[in-house]
């Protein structure tokens, strides 16, 4: 859509201001993680000492390990469950399909505090599972699977299903046809969903806050517990790591979806 080629100043000014608004806090956080000021809010001179201190911080390492384990398990289970579900939703006609689709989306449509609180009550008052790895992983799979289902479903709508028909006409059963033909065709979608779910799970604070127990701190929960001490260089460094952990899979995911 181009009638004129040069943008009016108004649009340029607003656009630049919006970019500054979106990026300034993030950029300043990264910058200050390298500042020697111990309150973490002023620039003095360049240092890597906060990163080195982070290496000795047992609580941070513990929380980081826990977050990585939870995100990895969530990625594997959600992506597998999501692929199976997307295949069923795409291929089959059945009664109650709309209700099922809506119910899958429910945990991310209703406010996170509602999802988190309902899971907390369910875990502690009904099925009595320990608050820690089991409760956090179940919660993360519950709010990550919708993402997997709909990203993979989107891919299914774009691939050429006659390949599967051809494989089956040539004698492959449905499982062989899936592993040899459909699976590879879906792979970019499956990989993209995994790359989206990893930061989605790794970053989650609100729902995790409800279902976490004593001694099962994830990295966002740790950051939250440190906030009452105000700005500290430790949070700036963790924040920078978070941004890196998020951006890398995101860029990979967008590269994969383009294929």
């Amino acid at each position: 859509m181009s009638l004129e080629n040069k943008a009016p100043k108004f649009f340029v000014v607003i656009s630049v201001l919006v970019y500054i608004f979106l990026w300034a806090p993030v950029v300043i956080l990264i910058l200050f993680s390298f500042s020697s000021n111990k309150f973490g809010i002023k620039w003095e001179h360049f240092t890597l000492k906060w990163y080195l201190e982070l290496l000795d911080n047992v609580a941070v390492k513990d929380a980081l390990t826990r977050s990585l384990i939870i995100a990895s398990v969530t990625v594997v289970v959600s992506t597998a469950l999501g692929t199976l579900t997307a295949y069923g939703l795409y291929k089959l006609k059945f009664a109650g399909k709309k209700i099922l689709r809506a119910s899958i989306l429910l945990p991310i449509v209703i406010p996170y505090v509602v999802t988190g609180a309902s899971l907390l009550v369910f875990f502690t008052r009904v099925i009595h599972i320990p608050l820690g790895y089991p409760s956090i992983i179940i919660a993360h799979i519950t709010f990550s699977t919708p993402l997997a289902v709909f990203v993979i479903l989107g891919r299914m709508q774009r691939i050429d299903w006659s390949w599967e028909e051809a494989a089956m006409d040539l004698g492959a059963n449905r499982i062989t046809a899936f592993t040899k033909v459909v699976g590879p065709l879906l792979l970019p979608g499956i990989a993209a969903s995994a790359m989206l779910i990893f930061p989605w799970s790794f970053d989650d604070f609100v729902i995790t806050y409800f279902v976490t127990g004593v001694g099962s701190t994830t990295l966002p929960i740790y950051v939250f517990s440190q906030l009452r001490y105000g700005a500290t260089p430790v949070i700036n460094t963790i924040g920078t790591i978070f941004i890196a952990v998020t951006i890398v899979p995101l860029v990979l995911s967008s590269l994969m979806q383009k294929k």
Binding site: M1, S2, L3, K6, A7, F11, I14, S15, V18, Y19, F21, L22, P25, V26, I28, L29, I41, L81, L84, G88, L89, K91, L92, K93, F94, L100, S103, I104, L106, V109, I110, P111, Y112, V113, V114, A117, S118, L120, F122, R125, I138, A139, T142, T145, F150, W161, E165, P199, D203, F205, V206, F210, P220, V223, A231, G239, F242, I243, I247, L250
Partner: protein, 295 residues
């Protein structure tokens, strides 16, 4: 013709036998960890909390009566107002940006859009914290303005309604820009050329062609901004403090600080019902198609 026949036959054949295999696991998961927990809090919302946080097994409508009677009226009103204003500001600052990228982005379009999306995918808590350090009493904005002698004492931004509203806009703006951009990209340029040929001025073209044709994008953006803003907890909690509570913070407060499950449950379900109702209305208004185009 032939392939569609085969496909039809296969679809029918696998319907009864393979349904449990593909749909079984997710159905079990959804029933156990989505519907059952909501059912449980629905049950608890009709009970009463004892003085020590225990739940008394007596059926009562008291929790809902308190909500309907307006016990939390001011918090509900404030939530709606903030969500509405956040959505409004996202729309009026997001539209020009989306328009600029779609129209003048050229080969930089993808890059410019990723610059919009990337911040929204980095940890929400960290971003709000960064935002908080910027706007605090000794934060960068205040020290900058003080150094320039533009102000004589630090501005109080944090823990005011303004901070909450700016925080909401900051959190959700990318989700407004995304569908707006998608609908502007999908706009047929020949329509604008036709309007120009027929003598429409640039302003007329914008208000009579572009704006009406991107209504779907605006509705989709509203779904992605207004709906989550209504249930927001972290933004008012971190930036508003105890004074500027929204319904989400009230729910979290009842559950976590007070341990009052019945009161928390009734508020949570009331909030979820409002959110689902509004979502349904927006989808009916035509947001669904625009949301799908965005994917």
């Amino acid at each position: 013709m032939r392939t569609s026949k085969i496909k039809g036959r296969r679809t029918k054949n696998i319907f009864p036998r393979q349904l449990p295999l593909y749909i079984g696991p997710i159905s079990v998961w959804v029933i156990l960890f989505v519907l059952a927990p909501l059912g449980i809090i629905l049950y608890f919302s009709f009970l009463k909390a004892g003085p020590l946080g225990e739940v008394i097994q007596n059926f009562t409508l008291e929790n809902y009566r308190a909500i309907v009677a307006g016990k939390y009226g001011i918090i509900f009103l404030r939530t709606f107002l903030y969500a509405f204003l956040a959505n409004f500001f996202c729309l009026i600052i997001g539209y020009p940006l989306a328009y600029w990228i779609a129209k003048y982005g050229g080969r930089w379009k993808t890059f410019l859009m990723s610059l919009v999306i990337i911040p929204s995918w980095t940890c929400y808590l960290i971003r709000l914290y960064a935002f908080k350090t910027l706007t605090g009493r000794t934060g960068l904005i205040n020290s900058f303005l003080l150094n320039l002698n533009l102000i004589s004492s630090p501005l109080k931004i944090l823990y005011t309604p303004y901070a909450v509203m700016i925080g909401l806009v900051y959190s959700w703006l990318p989700f407004m820009i995304l569908p707006l951009y998608a609908s502007l990209e999908g706009l047929d340029p020949t329509l604008l050329e036709a309007a120009a040929d027929l003598g429409a001025t640039p302003l007329e073209r914008f208000f009579k062609v572009t704006l009406p044709l991107t209504k779907g994008g605006m509705i989709a953006g509203t779904i992605l901004v207004f709906i989550p803003s209504l249930g927001e907890w972290l933004v008012p909690h971190l930036l508003g403090g105890a004074k500027v509570m929204m319904v989400g913070s009230l729910v979290a407060h009842k559950f976590i600080q007070l341990g009052n499950i019945p009161a928390g449950a009734s508020l949570a379900l009331f909030l979820a019902a409002i959110v689902i109702l509004i979502l349904y209305l927006f989808i009916k208004l035509g947001g669904e198609e625009a949301l799908e185009r965005m994917l």
